[in-house]
Assembly symmetry: C2
Homo-oligomer: 371 residues x 2
Amino acid sequence: MTPPAFPTTTYLSAPDLVQLVRRLGFSACLAGIAERIEQDFLRWHEFDKSPRLACHSAEGVIELMPIADAQRFAFKVVNGHPGNTRLGLPTVMAFGVLADMDTGAPRLLSELTITTALRTAAMSALAAQHLARRNSRHMALIGNGAQSEFQALAFRDRVGIRTLSLFDTDPAASAKLAANLHGQGLQVRICSSTAEAVQGADIVTTLTADKTRATIITPDMVQPGMHFNAVGGDCPGKTELHPGVLQAAQVFVEFEPQTRVEGDIQQLPADFAVTEFWRVLAGVAPGRRSAQQVTVFDSVGFALEDFSALSWLADKAAELGIGQVLDLIAQAPDPKNLFGLLQPPRLAVVAGARAAASSAEFPAAARRQKA
Amino acid sequence: MTPPAFPTTTYLSAPDLVQLVRRLGFSACLAGIAERIEQDFLRWHEFDKSPRLACHSAEGVIELMPIADAQRFAFKVVNGHPGNTRLGLPTVMAFGVLADMDTGAPRLLSELTITTALRTAAMSALAAQHLARRNSRHMALIGNGAQSEFQALAFRDRVGIRTLSLFDTDPAASAKLAANLHGQGLQVRICSSTAEAVQGADIVTTLTADKTRATIITPDMVQPGMHFNAVGGDCPGKTELHPGVLQAAQVFVEFEPQTRVEGDIQQLPADFAVTEFWRVLAGVAPGRRSAQQVTVFDSVGFALEDFSALSWLADKAAELGIGQVLDLIAQAPDPKNLFGLLQPPRLAVVAGARAAASSAEFPAAARRQKA
């Protein structure tokens, strides 16, 4: 009888992910991930959810983000180190794993640095589709680093944004963003301050990286009907919005227990009312109530979004034949004989000879077995 | 100016680990890991510790085990699925990562299935060196699956065990263990029951896999002075020792908050007194108090042991030149230009041309910059 096939682990490297995005197209990837996130948020109660585990140091944070449904377990490991760009390193680096719940076998190991940027933008756009005014065309992008192009294009594709006002304390970052957006059907304007960029915007996306209690957006900048997509305030001690902005708005979150600790609402009392976004999607809570209401999506990034992205990647990698098989798990012919793998090949006890060897070389054992 | 080198990620596959163990020798690996565990347990307070995060299903459990000191972050992902062997899969499969705390960059991704067996045996032997009677020579091994050879040889090398009494409900498992131990300087006897195997033993090691409240060891089997190395009872609902065995013994644990939930002591009230093993190593708590005392090491497996093993692996892999570089993290020439990686090579905006492109193609942006 042939033993069942050992479940393989597919590895998607960073170059594999680049290849996958180039072959499918950037917008198709954003759309695919956004749709998967929407489907998964609509089955919110099928997931075993917990806030991520964070490990902090003076320079930054490293986080583990696990989640599972009945079939699959996923986790991401991701860091946030604002000083990294001075060393030529990304602020955020990530990778993750998808495993089978019925055996625990890892089935996909993937880069998630590029993917995190895609899924964060897809999530932001999905939230804005339900929370921003329907005729939103003008977005301010505060913080023009690694994630800014992803947000710009997701809001163009999925929300209908046509005009962008950019601001970053690093003018080179804004110039880079503007250059990358050339020919993408967006009117782009570089501003000299946050206040200038925010002026007249329908949506304000904040993507700043400093791990401090920053106040990027103050109440005087807020205009009726604005939607704030607050992405950068995502760990304890790292905020972007003045508390007054939150207090005057209806605030939506991904997973409340995590956002209370990590989001901009960490500045407010624990009983400050927020709405989990899945409830809006599911139609059990209202989203925006009027054209005048100010809405905030206090985004921190939740494990379910990575689950969705990893599931989507697994499907697409299989369809396109991208990725390689990784020999991460020791495959012993007899799973109870892990030790046998460590023996030099010539000395390995082969399965068929095992009983004989036992009888011949271990008389006591043989006697016992016969008894 | 040359940009600083991007920190590389070394990948150690399962075959790499086999090669590493064969080249260094099994006993040298056990010794190296045991010494690293001892050093790390002696600096207990330098670690950011938390109980592992477990995700349970009907078939088993998948766990994430993070830990960090000021320099390095480590985590392991490990499953426990007792039904896996029926599918030809290992009950326990694992892999893990070591990352730099100052940047978050992953530096080592390694198989940890074989390594977990090594580090668990090294930890058990280290505990027994301090908790079992000094003249212990005879060990009973209850449960003769994938981890049993590792325990047998660790106790031979580091505790002085010369005689083993084996029992497993699967006789083929005991025969496999006996065959693998041939020529290893151990007298091996296969028994027909746990009671028979335990009779006359100085140390009893339990390594059973069933995810149930099993009662492998009952009070009538206990003899004065015995040391119990209880390894298999390691998650909620999975125990091996009758509560009476624990109540009559001095119980030592790795990390109390985790063992209260996962260890055999989950059967006892939360105020049942236990001693964290690092305190014995550090000389701030007594270990064994008399030759008559019964001691229990209620082992569940703690993240610090994996940290030690991963650190040791990183050093040895570098010394031996084993492993390969893994392109897990996207390396953009400009870390703020992650998006640039996704563009077709011919369209990529090169760094030097960026400002010019911005001025030429974005008149509004150029005007703004000049203002």
